[in-house]
Symmetry: C2
Subunit: 197 residues, 2 copies
């Protein structure tokens, strides 16, 4: 005989809310997202959402993060000792995300919104971009210890050598984003960062 | 005795229209810009505007370009033979533009609009970004001939090593944009691009 399980019911509601937020943004854009619409789609009351999240932006960022198991939006950066392979893996994964029409459309909509909405911009920078930049810096620090990256390289700039070119190409649609391109960016970045010889 | 001069009157109207478009976007954002509002502010008829431009986007891009004397939005890239100094000059000038509150606000508004408006995006890419990337590639080609840049370096990626990091930092507001930062980016890019040793 089954008894009600409040924890399981909560988790089910939470998942329904995140999934509703994600789908609504994919369908109509972030600007049109409302807490009311999320509640209606998820089959919960508005007060349930406000109990857990302060704003639609917070719900949505959680929805994006829930797509993956970790803190970096599903982008993992292992430390196999092979710096080129590890960086190439994460840059190729980003290229794949930008080439996914649904993720591309959602990322562009979110970028447009976050230009006009500082709260959303901070949520995204702090909770999605920030963790990715940090794990990348961790990986580069490990490469510094291994003598593969110059000890005095400014790692805040180093991560921008990796992600800046891809972001520029994606945002400005200048050329296609391919795995070959990701590898070229890694190659240039490694040369820029290598210890003096 | 003065006689009417239609060419001079045209030029006066053209300047009034471009200046009105620029000021209206600075005041209220590109989304609220209309050909009617430009005409009213410039003291001309709508038909005068439509005689010279197909859309508000085309007027606005001309307004931005009219701020400068050349095709690269005022960003010059001389060829003094000193590649580091030449690149540093253009990257510092971009940093200065992003740090100008009026240009920053306008660039963010335009970026947001162009994410939603493919026509505006194409106008900006073709007429503002494109020429800057081209003069930069020309400068790097000259450096290749001088043996300062690897002969086989992919120059489409090379320009992104220069502009991508700055664009990433500006868009995502991760760290301040300074001249020192511009110089660090140039330094990394030069190392990435130098001929094999």
């Amino acid at each position: 005989m089954k008894t009600p399980n409040p924890a399981r019911r909560s988790e089910r509601s939470r998942r329904a809310i995140l999934s509703a937020a994600f789908d609504l943004v994919a369908e109509a854009g972030y600007a049109k997202l409302t807490v009311e619409a999320i509640a209606a789609r998820a089959g919960v009351g508005k007060q349930t959402i406000y109990r857990w999240w302060p704003s639609k932006g917070a719900v949505f960022v959680d929805a994006v993060l829930s797509l993956s198991e970790d803190d970096t939006g599903g982008l993992s950066l292992p430390d196999t000792g092979d710096l080129r392979a590890d960086l190439s893996g994460v840059l190729r994964a980003i290229v794949d995300e930008y080439n996914d029409p649904r993720l591309d459309a959602m990322s562009r909509a979110l970028t447009a919104e976050s230009l006009a909405d500082p709260t959303l911009n901070s949520e995204i920078t702090a909770r999605i971009l920030g963790p990715l930049l940090e794990v990348t810096k961790d990986r580069l620090r490990s490469a510094q210890r291994a003598g593969q990256v110059a000890a005095d390289a400014d790692l805040s700039v180093a991560v921008e050598l990796l992600y800046g070119p891809i972001y520029h190409r994606w945002m400005l649609r200048t050329h296609p984003l391919t795995h070959e391109y990701a590898d070229t960016v890694v190659e240039f970045a490694l040369r820029a960062l290598e210890p003096a010889h």
